[in-house]
C-alpha cells in the first residue's frame, strides 16, 4: 500500500523530501492542493494527485502559480485547508497576489511551499524565495530533513489558522529530492465544511490598518516560535564558535565537525522558524560565544536578520565577530556542500585536514577521464527539427535575425543542441513579451527579424498576454508555439492542452490554434520533422508584418517512444559516407548533433548508434552525400 495514504501513523517509511511534505499536508488535513510544475517542487503535487485516488481531497495542476494560489485561497476563504507548491520562480509569479492576500488575511489553513533551487541545477536562476516571507510579513518555516518537512508542514496549517494568514515553507533541491526514514503521524478525518461567511470580507482596505494587523499577526507567530521544537542548540556550554544555520545546509555541519574532531569546540544553533526570527531564543544563544558563523543556502537571510538583532542587543550582548557571506568566509553564490564547510572549519581552526587536497587532485583527473557532456535534445526530439528549421530560415533570410527564447526544454536552444539560435531566456512567457517589443523597434531603424518560441504549457502559463499585447499594439511578432503536447521539462504533467487533469479525469483540451485565431492573428501550422518545408514557412512568415503565430506540432519524442510509434530504421551507408574525405566536416555529428549519430573513429565515418536512435528519420535529409538511409519498419 502506498504509505502516503496510510491512515494510521507510528511507522517509519522511506520518503523523499517532497513526499514527506505531501504526507505532512495530508496529516495536517489539507483538502485542496494546487501547483504549477517546476523542479524541484513537482513531486509534491504528483504525490498528492496519487493520494487523491484514495483520499477525499482535490488536487489540480493550475495554469500557472498565481492561479494556483488564488484557487487554493478560495478554499481557505471557505474554511478549508489548502496548499500550493512551486519552485522559486513561481513565488515571483504569485508575488502580486501574495502581498495583497497577506493584508486581507485567510481563514482555513493556507500554506505556500517554495522549493528553491540553489545553484540553479534545474532552473534559469538562483534565487532565495525566503525574502518574500519578509516582504509579505508572513511566517517562514525551513525544514532541514524529510522528517522535519513532514512535521512542519503538518503544523503549518494550524499556525496559519491561528494567525489567519498564509504560512510559507521553504525547501531546497537537496531536501526535496533526498530520501530518508520518516516517522508518519495519523491522517485526520477529512470532513471539510466549506462555507463562505458573509460576515467576513477579504480585501486590503483600509490599507494601513490592514498592514498593522499583518504585523500583529507576525508578532503572534514570533511569540509561538520562541519555544518551537524546530529551533535547538547542540554543543558545548562555552563553544569557541557558534554556527547559526537553517535548512538542508545544517545537515552538513555535523558531518564536517565530526570529521575534524570539532564537536566539543563548536556549537550549532539550528533554526527551523526563520521569519520572524525568535529574538529571545537567539539572544540567549548569542551570549554563548563572540564568534558566530552563518551557514544557509543562497542569500544571507539569517545572517542579516540576526546581525540586525545583534545590533539592537549590542549593549546587552556586546560586540560579536560575524563570519559568513558578508565577511567572505562563505561563498556568495551556489549551494552549500559538506566540502565547503570542511574547508572552512579547517581554515578557522587551523587544522591540517589530510584529505583536503584530495578533491583538488581528483578534479583534473576527472576532467581528463570523463568526456565532456553538454545539454542535448533527446533523439527524435521535435525541438531539434524546429531549431534546424529556424537556423535554416534565419540563414536564408540573412538579416541577422535571432530567437527570443523562453522556459522549457527548448531553452536548450541557447546551446549547440539547438544550434545556438536562442539569444535570450528569462521568465515564463518573457520571450513573447520581448518579441512584442522588438516588433515595435522598426520605426527607429531596427531591421533584424526576431522569432520567438514558447512551448504549449508556457503558452498557457504566461505567453498569451504578450501575444494579445502584440495584437493590440500591432507589433511585428512571429511566435512559434512548439506544441509537443507535454510539460516535458518537468516530467509530463497534464496541462490545459493535454486532455486530462492532475486527478486523471478527462478534460476537453484547449485548442491553441483556435484560441490564437480567435485573436484575429495570422495562424499557420507546420511539422518540425519536415524541416525544409517548415524552414520555408518560417522564412515566408518572417517577411510578413503584424502578429503571426506558427504552431509546430509534434508529440514529445519520449512520449512518442513510450507509445512505440517511430516508423524508421536508420543506417549510414558506409560506401556513400565519404567520412573525413567528404569535405562536410562531419556535418551530421558536428552540426546536427543528434545523439543517435556517432562518429566512428576506427574508420573515420559516421554511424547510427542503434541503441540511442529512436527512428524519427529526420536526419536522413541532412547528409550532403545522402548517406543516411531510412527504411520503414513494420508495426
Amino acid at each position: 500500500m502506498n504509505p502516503i495514504v496510510q491512515r494510521s501513523g507510528g511507522i517509519n517509511v522511506l520518503l523523499q523530501g517532497n513526499e514527506a511534505i505531501a504526507r505532512g499536508a495530508l496529516e495536517g488535513g489539507v483538502v485542496f492542493c494546487a501547483a504549477y510544475p517546476g523542479n524541484p517542487s513537482s513531486e509534491i503535487l504528483e504525490t498528492l494527485a496519487e493520494a487523491s485516488q484514495k483520499l477525499p481531497i482535490y488536487v489540480e495542476w493550475s495554469v500557472n502559480e498565481k492561479v494556483a494560489l488564488e484557487a487554493a485561497t478560495a478554499a481557505s476563504f471557505a474554511h478549508c485547508r489548502a496548499m500550493v507548491s512551486m519552485k522559486q520562480n513561481g513565488v515571483n509569479v504569485i508575488s502580486d497576489f501574495l502581498t495583497n492576500l497577506t493584508l486581507s488575511g485567510t481563514k482555513g489553513g493556507l500554506v505556500l511551499v517554495s522549493c528553491d533551487d540553489p545553484s540553479g541545477i534545474s532552473s534559469t536562476n538562483e534565487e532565495d524565495a525566503r525574502l518574500f516571507a519578509k516582504l509579505a510579513d508572513i511566517p517562514l518555516l525551513e525544514p532541514a530533513t524529510p522528517q522535519e518537512a513532514l512535521e512542519m508542514t503538518r503544523w503549518s496549517f494550524q499556525l496559519s489558522e491561528n494567525i489567519e494568514n498564509i504560512v510559507m515553507i521553504r525547501s531546497v533541491s537537496r531536501l526535496s529530492h533526498t530520501r530518508s526514514n520518516v516517522l508518519l503521524g495519523d491522517l485526520p478525518d477529512f470532513r471539510p465544511t466549506p462555507h463562505f461567511d458573509l460576515d467576513s470580507a477579504f480585501h486590503t482596505f483600509p490599507v494601513v490598518e490592514k498592514h498593522k494587523t499583518r504585523h500583529q499577526k507576525l508578532d503572534q507567530a514570533a511569540e509561538m516560535f520562541e519555544d518551537s521544537p524546530f529551533n535547538h542548540y547542540q554543543g558545548p556550554h562555552k563553544p569557541e564558535l557558534l554556527v547559526i544555520s537553517s535548512g538542508c545546509a545544517w545537515t552538513y555541519i555535523d558531518e564536517a565537525l565530526a570529521i575534524l574532531g570539532l564537536l566539543d569546540r563548536v556549537g550549532v544553533l539550528k533554526l527551523g522558524t526563520t521569519w520572524p526570527i525568535p529574538k529571545k531564543f537567539l539572544k540567549k544563544h548569542l551570549t554563548l560565544c563572540d564568534r558566530i558563523l552563518f551557514v544557509e543556502d543562497v542569500d544571507p537571510f539569517l545572517e542579516e536578520n540576526v546581525k540586525a538583532l545583534a545590533a539592537d542587543l549590542g549593549k546587552e550582548i556586546g560586540v560579536k565577530e560575524f563570519l559568513g557571506k558578508s565577511s567572505g568566509h562563505m561563498p556568495h553564490c551556489g549551494e552549500q556542500s559538506p566540502h565547503i564547510l570542511l574547508n572552512l572549519f579547517a581554515d578557522i581552526f587551523g587544522i591540517d585536514y589530510g584529505k583536503r587536497a584530495y578533491r583538488e587532485r581528483l578534479t583534473p583527473i576527472i576532467k581528463e577521464m570523463v568526456p565532456a557532456r553538454e545539454f542535448g535534445f533527446s533523439p527524435g526530439c521535435p525541438h531539434r527539427g524546429t531549431y534546424y528549421a529556424i537556423k535554416t530560415a534565419l540563414a536564408w533570410d540573412n538579416r541577422d535575425g535571432f530567437v527570443s527564447g523562453d522556459i522549457g526544454c527548448y531553452t536548450m536552444g541557447i546551446w549547440p543542441t539547438g544550434f545556438n539560435q536562442v539569444k535570450s531566456v528569462h521568465a515564463m512567457g518573457s520571450g513573447s513579451g520581448l518579441a512584442s517589443g522588438y516588433g515595435k523597434l522598426e520605426q527607429f531603424g531596427f531591421n533584424q527579424p526576431v522569432i520567438t518560441v514558447c512551448g504549449d504549457s508556457t503558452f498557457f502559463h504566461a505567453a498569451i498576454p504578450a501575444l494579445i499585447n502584440a495584437k493590440f499594439n500591432q507589433s511585428d511578432i512571429l511566435l512559434l508555439i512548439l506544441d509537443n503536447s507535454a510539460t516535458a521539462m518537468t516530467g509530463f504533467q497534464p496541462h490545459p492542452g493535454t486532455g486530462s487533469t492532475a486527478m486523471g479525469s478527462e478534460a476537453d483540451p484547449v485548442d491553441i490554434d483556435a484560441l490564437c485565431r480567435s485573436l484575429g492573428v495570422c495562424v499557420e501550422l507546420a511539422d518540425p520533422y519536415d524541416m525544409e518545408n517548415t524552414a520555408k514557412t518560417i522564412y515566408r512568415l518572417m517577411k510578413e508584418k503584424g502578429p503571426r503565430v506558427l504552431i509546430l506540432k509534434r508529440k514529445c519524442a519520449i512520449v512518442e517512444g513510450r507509445e512505440g510509434k517511430f516508423p524508421y530504421s536508420l543506417n549510414v551507408d558506409q560506401e556513400l559516407c565519404l567520412g573525413e574525405q567528404c569535405g562536410c566536416g562531419r556535418y551530421c555529428t558536428r552540426i546536427f548533433r543528434c545523439p543517435g549519430l556517432i562518429w566512428d573513429n576506427s574508420n573515420g565515418k559516421a554511424r547510427i548508434d542503434e541503441v540511442i536512435c529512436v527512428g524519427c528519420g529526420i536526419c536522413a535529409n541532412i547528409c550532403p552525400q545522402e548517406a543516411i538511409v531510412k527504411e520503414n519498419v513494420e508495426g
Binding site: W396, N398, G583, G585, Y587, R590, I622, P624, Q625
Partner: protein
C-alpha cells in the same frame, strides 16, 4: 570536441559575404553543406572546420593568394580588349521555334541542343526562370529543359550550385552557361586544391554570357512588389540606349521602369568586376547592338571552335560578319568595364585601409 573554425571560410565571410560583394555565382554552394543559395542570395548556413579553403579559392570576388592563382586568371586581361579569342562574328539560330523565344539570336539554346544531340555533352548547367520563386541553377537534359531556360535573368542566380550538384551525380559530360563571374569561378575551380582539376574535367563546354551588371534578386523583388507587380516574371529586357528603361514581362504584359530606378538594385560586387565578355569561356555570347535577332559570338578555345563550326556546318546556326563599328563598340565597352572595376577596387581598398 574542440573544432577550430576554418580560416578559409572566415576569410570568405569577411572579405566577400559580410562586405556584400558576393555576386551569387553559386560556385561555393554545394562544395560543402555550409553555403546555400536561397531566394536569390548565397548565404552561410554554418561555420566549417575544413582546412582546404575551397570556397575561398573558387570565389571570383576573393583575392585569394594574389601571387599565383589570381595572376594566372587575370593574365587573360592583357591579351586583348575582350580577352583571348580565335574568332568573333554574329550568329543566330536557324530554328524559328528557338529564335521566337530567345532573348536575342538563340545561339546559346541552339548550340546546347546541338551539343546534346551530337553527344558532345549529356546535360547543361543553366538558370531556370523561377517564376514566383527566385531563378536558380538547373541541370537541363534535353531540348525542352533547355528552351525552358531561354532568356536573360539579369542575375547569376547561384547557377554553379547546380554544377556542384551535377558533379556529385552520374559521370556525364556537362556544358555550363553562365555570366563572366561564373566563367571565372570555373577557371578558378580548375586550379582549386585538392580536387578542382577533377571536378572541372567534367565540364566539356563553357558558354559565357556578356554582362555589364546583374541585379540583386531580393532587392529587385522588393522593388517590383512596391510598385505593385506581384505576378511571376516571364522575361526581363533592357533595350539598347538611349531608351534608359528596364522592361518586365508578366502574364499581364510588359511593364516599363526607369533604368535609374533599377541601377541602385545592382549587386554591389558587380562594380568590382572587370570582365564584360566572359573571357574565361570557350564561347562568349551577347547581343548585337542595333540588330535585333542576332548574337555577337566570341569563339575563344579549340573546343569552342569545334562545336561552333560543326553547328554551323550542320546548319543549326547561321553566321555573318560582325560590323566593325559593333566590334569597336564592344571593345570600348569592355575596356570601360575594366576601368570602372579598377577605380571601384582602388576605392574599396582605400576605404578599407
Amino acid at each position: 570536441m574542440d573544432d577550430s573554425i576554418s580560416n578559409g571560410q572566415c576569410q570568405l565571410i569577411d572579405k566577400v559575404i559580410n562586405k556584400g560583394i558576393c555576386v551569387t555565382c553559386g560556385a561555393c554552394v554545394g562544395l560543402c553543406p555550409y553555403f546555400d543559395y536561397f531566394d536569390g542570395r548565397v548565404v552561410v548556413m554554418d561555420r566549417c572546420t575544413s582546412d582546404t579553403w575551397r570556397c575561398l579559392q573558387i570565389c571570383p570576388r576573393a583575392d585569394y593568394d594574389e601571387t599565383s592563382l589570381d595572376k594566372i586568371i587575370k593574365k587573360q586581361d592583357q591579351i586583348s580588349e575582350i580577352g583571348s579569342f580565335k574568332k568573333i562574328f554574329m550568329a543566330r539560330s536557324s530554328q524559328e521555334e528557338i529564335s521566337k523565344m530567345a532573348q536575342y539570336g538563340g545561339v546559346v539554346s541552339t548550340l546546347l541542343i546541338y551539343a546534346i544531340e551530337k553527344g558532345f555533352i549529356e546535360s547543361a548547367i543553366m538558370t531556370a526562370k523561377g517564376g514566383d520563386v527566385s531563378p536558380a541553377g538547373t541541370i537541363a537534359k534535353d531540348r525542352s529543359d533547355i528552351l525552358n531556360c531561354a532568356g536573360s535573368r539579369y542575375n547569376a542566380s547561384g547557377g554553379l550550385a547546380a554544377l556542384n550538384r551535377a558533379i556529385k551525380g552520374d559521370k556525364e559530360r556537362l556544358a555550363v552557361v553562365g555570366l563572366p563571374c561564373q566563367m571565372e569561378a570555373l577557371a578558378r575551380m580548375g586550379l582549386m586544391e585538392p580536387d578542382g582539376a577533377e571536378r572541372v574535367s567534367r565540364v566539356n563546354l563553357k558558354i559565357g554570357l556578356f554582362c555589364t551588371w546583374a541585379l540583386d534578386y531580393r532587392q529587385l523583388n522588393d522593388y517590383l512588389k512596391n510598385v505593385g507587380l506581384e505576378e511571376p516574371i516571364k522575361k526581363y529586357d533592357i533595350p539598347p540606349p538611349p531608351s534608359q528603361v528596364f522592361l518586365v514581362l508578366t502574364e499581364k504584359g510588359w511593364r516599363e521602369f526607369p533604368l535609374d530606378d533599377i541601377r541602385p538594385l545592382i549587386q554591389k560586387g558587380c562594380a568590382l568586376c572587370d570582365d564584360m565578355t566572359a573571357e574565361h569561356a570557350d564561347i562568349s555570347v551577347g547581343s548585337v547592338e542595333g540588330l535585333e535577332g542576332w548574337n555577337t559570338v566570341v569563339v575563344r578555345s579549340q573546343k569552342g571552335e569545334e562545336i561552333m563550326t560543326a553547328a554551323v556546318e550542320d546548319n543549326h546556326i547561321q553566321i555573318d560578319n560582325l560590323p566593325k563599328e559593333n566590334f569597336d563598340h564592344l571593345k570600348e565597352a569592355s575596356l570601360n568595364k575594366r576601368e570602372k572595376s579598377r577605380i571601384a577596387t582602388e576605392e574599396m581598398k582605400r576605404r578599407e585601409s
